[in-house]
């Protein structure tokens, strides 16, 4: 009993067949979920990366600045627009309360993103596909992305980063052909 000590012999009481059946079913589901995560690394196509480098805000800022210099093709509302080559490194710096550049990507091509913060933690949330990762200062999170659809995507910050948190929005544009750039005003 919940308020009294259990009756003697409680420890030897046989588990009822329905309870036993349920526990076995639940155990199978629990073990399956563990293997599912591992199998998704083998057969699935969406897996967080395990690659992170230590960095500093100074180092990452200078990496980002030279990345922008090499790849800039224009400007959008005061924010540089860059078009890196497929398979290349992309540096994205988050800071209160902006993303360092608008990035133009090609559909079905891989890009190696490096994401870090200049100040506090931020959240890298790409909409409307709803893909979310954390951004830390002092850590360079390396994530390989391959966009599967053309169009305009927004980078929303979804980790509270101070009083202007809700002003922090960036952009990624995915194109198939460079002719499409004009559609976005670039």
């Amino acid at each position: 009993m919940s308020l009294e000590a259990p009756p003697s012999g409680w420890i030897h009481k046989k588990i009822a067949r329905d309870e036993k059946g349920w526990i076995i079913a639940a155990t199978v589901v629990c073990i399956a979920m563990f293997f599912w995560m591992i199998l998704w690394h083998v057969y699935g196509k969406q897996n967080p990366s395990s690659v992170t480098y230590y960095t500093t805000p100074e180092e990452f800022t200078s990496l980002t600045n030279s990345f922008i210099e090499q790849n800039q093709i224009g400007e959008d509302n005061g924010i540089p627009v860059v078009m890196p080559k497929p398979e290349s490194d992309v540096f994205l710096l988050a800071q209160m309360w902006r993303w360092s550049s608008v990035i133009v990507l090609k559909k079905d091509e891989w890009y190696k993103f490096h994401i870090s913060s200049k100040d506090v933690m931020h959240g890298f949330s790409v909409q409307p596909i709803n893909m979310n990762f954390m951004v830390f200062p002092n850590y360079d999170y390396v994530l390989d992305f391959k966009p599967n659809k053309t169009g305009e995507y927004m980078i929303v910050c979804n980790e509270f980063c101070g009083i202007g948190h809700h002003l922090m929005i960036g952009k990624i544009v995915v194109i198939e052909d460079e002719n499409e750039l004009a559609n976005y005003g670039y």
Binding site: G21, M33, V120, M121, N132
Partner: protein, 559 residues
């Protein structure tokens, strides 16, 4: 020398110190809950941007206020009261060190006031998680530390009380299941509060300028050792109350106590580091680390909850069948005392905890599916299911018993009390499901303006979200009203309610224990109705499981 009274309703001896400290902690719990609820309604009407009542600085401030009062102060004050109750009254024993009990309370009360004052004065706009390098005023961290130290002393007193009861021969070899559950909660509380000290003490020193910097990845790792484990204390206490209420209302118990007790052991052994599921999309930790530490190969903490998911309803079913409600699969379910507000609260809490909180929690806590929900409103919807419908509704429900037993007052407006749990359940369910749907659209949590007015770009979230915001708002209003009703009923009862002078004044039944079954039943299954219910649960889980993986598979490729 401790003095006590013998309860004329339950026959338990109630130590005077326990009674006083219980009452004080419970009152502070309700005050914290009121602050949390007032914050909540402001947040609902701010996020629902047709109203947008708060300014942005106040929105972020109230986010912190609501979080820390709802998730820390309300729950821990209540749990300390519960730990004292479970380690003295239930064991017919005395309070081991009254002076330390007072010290614990004074520290907790000071910490509570200091923290809330720092938040409201704008000195701690860091939200509840206070991720470094966001920095608050040192007194904010000090407030949390004082509260945690007080709580740690309270947990220590629980162990002291239990040891004293054992020494004085008040308990035999085995603790009652309710106290056993509290013991599990207390053990997890020690681990939790030590993690809290490990993260808040250096952060406090850093805010004073005595420590140069705090590593953000380290902070998140250790903070969640505190933040998540804290919720596991709630789960143990809550499930303990579920078993307690089956005993109080029906006289029944777990159909196999060994199974229930092993499940609590799993919580202790496997939850602390499983807080890794908060770091699934973080840099600095690898996939191997994430997959292993969220699951230990077989999700044993989840399994523990699955075991209780059968054990608690089957204890109701077995008791009901012995009481004569033996027709078909669900006669026992229909004939449950749904008009008893404590019982309805607890049963609704079980449903909400499982179907809303549990299903989403397990799916969102897997490494890859976390990508499509992390830091969206879906996460908040998940823990509205676990902490608000699960823990808070359970605690609110059992209070309907504790007011007459420990405050010796009748419940006023009893008819209103009967409908209050249903209002709260439907309100929070609507709010939580609304949040989960909004999170599916990608709408972030803790965000003042999802139209990004004043930002370099604007964005319109899925147009269907407009309709969901209305559901969210209605859920918020309904649950806020029922919360106010509960607080009013409890406060008026405690201070002005008619006195309870004996069993004739009890509005809620206390059943005699059913004891061992002498003549074995002839059913093939112990609890066939429960088995059907749990299968429905499992099927619902699997449907949402595969839907989420399907949604994940539609996004960009990531490696």
């Amino acid at each position: 020398m401790s003095t006590f009274r013998t309860c004329d309703i339950t026959g338990f001896k109630v130590d005077n110190t326990t009674e006083k400290l219980f009452r004080l902690n419970a009152v502070f719990a309700v005050v914290s809950l009121l602050i949390a609820a007032l914050g909540a309604i402001l947040l609902v009407f701010t996020r629902w941007q047709d109203f947008h009542v708060l300014s942005s600085p106040w929105y972020y401030r109230i986010i912190g206020l609501h979080g820390v009062n709802a998730l820390v102060f309300w729950i821990v004050f209540f749990e300390i009261a519960g730990l004292y109750f479970g380690s003295t009254v239930v064991l017919n024993s005395r309070f081991c060190a009254p002076k330390l009990g007072w010290l614990s309370f004074i520290l907790m009360a000071t910490g509570f006031i200091l923290t809330d004052v720092m938040i409201l004065s704008g000195n701690a706009d860091v939200t509840m998680t206070s991720y470094v390098p966001l920095k608050a005023h040192p007194l904010y961290y000090l407030g949390i530390i004082l509260f945690a130290v007080g709580a740690l002393i309270g947990v220590g007193l629980f162990f002291g009380n239990a040891a004293l009861a054992k020494k004085e021969g008040k308990v035999g070899k085995t603790l009652p299941l309710f106290t056993y559950a509290l013991m599990a909660a207390a053990i997890i509380a020690v681990l939790t509060l030590l993690s809290g000290a490990l993260v808040y003490v250096p952060t406090f020193l850093w805010s004073l300028g005595l420590v140069e910097s705090i590593d953000p990845a380290w902070y998140r790792l250790v903070w969640w050792g505190f933040g998540h484990s804290a919720q596991q204390i709630n789960v143990c206490a809550m499930v303990g109350i579920w078993y307690l209420s089956v005993r109080l209302v029906l006289g029944g118990s777990s159909i196999n106590e060994k199974v229930s007790r092993v499940a609590f052991l799993f919580y202790i052994l496997f939850i602390s580091i499983a807080s890794a599921h908060h770091l699934l999309v973080d840099p600095a930790v690898s996939s191997t680390w994430k997959v292993w530490n969220t699951s230990y190969a077989m999700y044993l903490a989840v399994l523990a909850s699955m075991i209780h998911a059968f054990a608690v309803p089957s204890s109701m079913e077995a008791a009901q069948r012995r009481l004569g409600h033996n027709k078909g699969l669900f006669d026992w379910l229909i004939k449950l005392p749904w008009g008893n507000p404590a019982f309805s609260s607890i049963t609704l809490a079980i449903i909400g905890f499982g179907f809303i909180g549990g299903i989403t929690g397990v799916i969102y806590g897997m490494e890859q599916t976390n990508i499509i929900v992390h830091n969206t409103l879906a996460i908040v919807g998940h823990f509205k299911g676990t902490v608000v419908i699960g823990t808070t509704l359970t605690f609110m429900g059992i209070t309907y018993y504790l007011v007459p037993l420990m405050f010796r007052r009748k419940i006023v407006a009893f008819k209103l009390a009967k409908i209050q749990p249903w209002m709260f359940f439907f309100g929070i369910a609507l709010l939580a499901i609304g949040m989960i749907a909004l999170g599916m659209f990608g709408i972030p949590r803790r965000h003042y303006d999802i139209a990004f007015t004043g930002g370099p770009f604007t964005y319109d979230f899925n147009l269907a979200s407009g309709f969901v915001w209305v559901l969210f708002g209605l859920g918020g209003i309904l649950s806020f009203l029922s919360m106010l009703i509960w607080i009013l009923i409890i406060v008026v009862s405690v201070f002005f309610g008619p006195r309870v002078n004996g069993p004739q004044d009890m509005q809620l039944a206390i059943a005699a224990p059913l004891g061992e079954e002498t003549t074995p039943h002839k059913r093939k299954y112990e609890a066939p109705g429960t088995l059907v219910l749990t299968i429905i649960f499992l099927v619902t889980f699997l449907v949402f499981y595969f839907l989420n993986w399907k949604w994940l598979a539609a996004i960009w490729e990531i490696q």
